[in-house]
């Protein structure tokens, strides 16, 4: 799909994220908005999915390690028509399939596993990738993490093991929006130089502007060519991207917009098209 079309989809996804959160009254806009281009390009240009059967054994796998940004995943899955736009409005409500963090037991096509406790997704992805290698299948495994999440030690156990097992079918993405709940990542617990860390752990590292669809697209494509090493895409992003009053504000990590704020945000998003 062309960049121009992906831009339109990205705008639609942003609006859906904000709509869902406003109706839910709680949730995580900042980190959802920073991951939009990363998710849209992945699903529309790279993930091998069978829309008739999301459990197709030939499918690519996606693990949302930063599970709190499930609104972006749910929105992208709605774009893929595996859940309805109406269902998006049930986010976080009791009885909804769309739980506050992705839940496997709700049987949503495209949700491989429950996530939400930061730091586990990379290990899970390593396990899936190892499984694919054992089966001699060429399915790819993708995992999206946050930058604050890199503070979890469990990430580094998984990172060591991904390169030890030469899992070149694994492509991780770190959404580096620079902020976590308690403030800037580099003030709470500095994770940098993150690129050097992954390089020293034996990974292939690609740095991109996480909102530049062409750069993101090229990175996913390049990852597929890498042999013998897993790839990590370090994406520089803006927390709350697309909504001026949310951008770069730690406050907008975990609170929902009001109706007025929603309308204001819509005006801004529409103006970009």
């Amino acid at each position: 799909m062309e960049t121009a079309d992906l831009k339109i989809i990205s705008a639609s996804v942003r609006k859906d994220i904000l709509t869902m959160l406003e109706l839910a009254g709680s949730g995580h806009p900042g980190g959802s908005l920073s991951s939009v281009e990363l998710m849209v390009d992945l699903y529309f240009n790279h993930m091998k999915i069978n829309p008739k059967n999301f459990n197709d054994p030939k499918r690519d796998y996606f693990i949302l390690s930063k599970g709190h940004v499930c609104p972006v995943l749910y929105s992208v899955l709605a774009q893929m028509e595996c859940i309805s736009k109406d269902e998006l409005c049930t986010l976080r409500k009791m009885g909804s399939r769309l739980q506050g963090h992705p839940a496997k037991d709700k049987n949503i096509p495209g949700i491989e596993i429950s996530t939400g406790s930061l730091g586990y997704g990379l290990s899970i992805a390593v396990g899936v990738a190892k499984g694919m290698k054992t089966l001699k299948q060429d399915n790819r495994v993708y995992v999206l993490m946050g930058d604050g999440e890199q503070q979890e030690g469990s990430i580094w156990e998984a990172a060591m093991s991904a390169s030890h097992f030469k899992l070149d079918n694994l492509c991780a993405v770190v959404d580096c929006n620079g902020l976590q709940i308690d403030g800037p990542v580099d003030k709470v617990l500095n994770i940098n130089p993150i690129t050097d860390k992954y390089l020293s752990f034996g990974w292939n590292v690609i740095s991109v502007d996480g909102h530049n669809l062409e750069e993101v697209d090229a990175a996913y494509a390049k990852a597929k060519l890498q042999k013998d090493k897993p790839t990590v895409i370090i994406a520089k992003t803006v927390k709350g991207k697309g909504v001026s009053f949310m951008e770069n504000k730690a406050d907008w990590h975990g609170k929902a917009p009001s109706k007025e704020q929603l309308l204001q945000a819509f005006k801004e998003i529409d103006a970009t098209l």
Binding site: D105, I113, S114, S117, Y120, V126, G127, S154, E157, S161
Partner: protein, 315 residues
């Protein structure tokens, strides 16, 4: 005399089961964490190297990878020492594996004081408590190597997460190949009407020995082997309470939260009878010879006998 059919460490039962499973089913995948020979999974590693991974000293990744492998369609078994298999990755077990009801089987070797000279850091005494409180988890504590092999094979095809607790030291074999085994179904090892001794793991043998001593004192003790602490065989426990009117539990585990607590939950709710608990008394272990430690920490047949006599006074 307790009928004993040999002396063998339960970890070997686990290891043998894995090889048998691996032979029949190529969905079986085994993961270790640098303790591979010690926990007896090297047999599987040698025979099926393509379906084996050693993740090194990284237990959170051990469980995470197992979760991923289960999504990829395998039946993953992980094994390392009990403290590290259940404790360190506890949240991963809870949130990644149990919440998603993944088909991951966890072998917690080196359980109890009988780990011996390594001492308290390595003597797992809390796994029953911290595993059974998680929804969707099944907890098995087989009594000998023969039962451990059956439990492991049964676990492979029992839907969902399973924790199997077993040990390092040679212990008496008190069951036979022909002894039936079914997850969730307690085994009556000895009939009796005066008191019921309910035990799991290594304490089943001690309970049978205690029953012998009691018999010489004119007390007929029933011995119930609860190899499945969760889901616990409530029917068997209630029957025993009604039949015997007094219960003593025995486990190589802390007194808080383990088998004793699980049995008490059933008894108090359905058929309250006097109970006493033979267990580690809320303390850590220490270095020593396994047999000396069992004696020092009060986990022998004579301790069960004392508990029975106490409980009979309250009947």
């Amino acid at each position: 005399m307790v009928k004993v059919f040999g002396n063998k460490a339960t970890r070997f039962g686990f290891g043998e089961a894995l090889v048998e499973l691996g032979d029949k089913d190529d969905k079986i995948f085994v993961l270790g964490a640098d303790t591979v020979s010690s926990v007896a999974i090297n047999g599987f590693q040698d025979k099926f190297p393509d379906r084996f991974a050693n993740v090194g000293i990284a237990e959170t990744n051990l469980l995470g990878m197992a979760a991923g492998l289960s999504i990829a369609g395998f039946i993953p078994f992980v094994s390392t020492y009990g403290v590290f298999a259940s404790g360190r990755p506890w949240e991963q077990i809870r949130t990644t594996i149990c919440y998603s009801k993944l088909n991951v089987k966890i072998g917690g070797s080196h359980s109890g004081l009988m780990v011996g000279p390594d001492g308290a850091t390595h003597q797992a005494l809390e796994e029953i408590a911290i595993m059974r409180c998680i929804p969707n988890m099944t907890v098995l504590v087989p009594c000998d190597a023969v039962e451990t092999k059956k439990a492991t094979i049964a676990a492979a095809y029992y839907k969902g997460p399973v924790y199997i607790r077993y040990g390092r030291e040679n212990v008496p074999v008190v069951t036979e190949e022909s002894t039936p085994f079914e997850i969730g179904k307690a085994c009556v090892m000895k009939e009796g009407k005066d008191v019921c001794i309910i035990a799991c793991g290594s304490m089943v043998y001690e309970s049978l020995a205690a029953a012998d001593i009691l018999e010489q004192n004119g007390i007929k003790a029933k011995v119930l082997n609860i190899h499945t602490v969760k889901p616990i065989d409530e029917k068997a426990i209630i029957e025993a309470a009604k039949e015997c009117g007094a219960i003593v539990t025995a486990e190589e585990h802390q007194k808080f939260g383990g088998l004793g607590s699980a049995v008490a939950e059933v008894v108090v709710k359905n058929s309250p009878v006097p109970m006493d608990f033979v267990a580690v008394n809320d303390t850590f272990g220490e270095s020593g010879k396994p047999s000396d430690l069992i004696t020092k920490y009060g986990l022998k047949d004579i301790n069960i006998v004392t508990a029975v006599k106490n409980v009979l006074k309250r009947k």
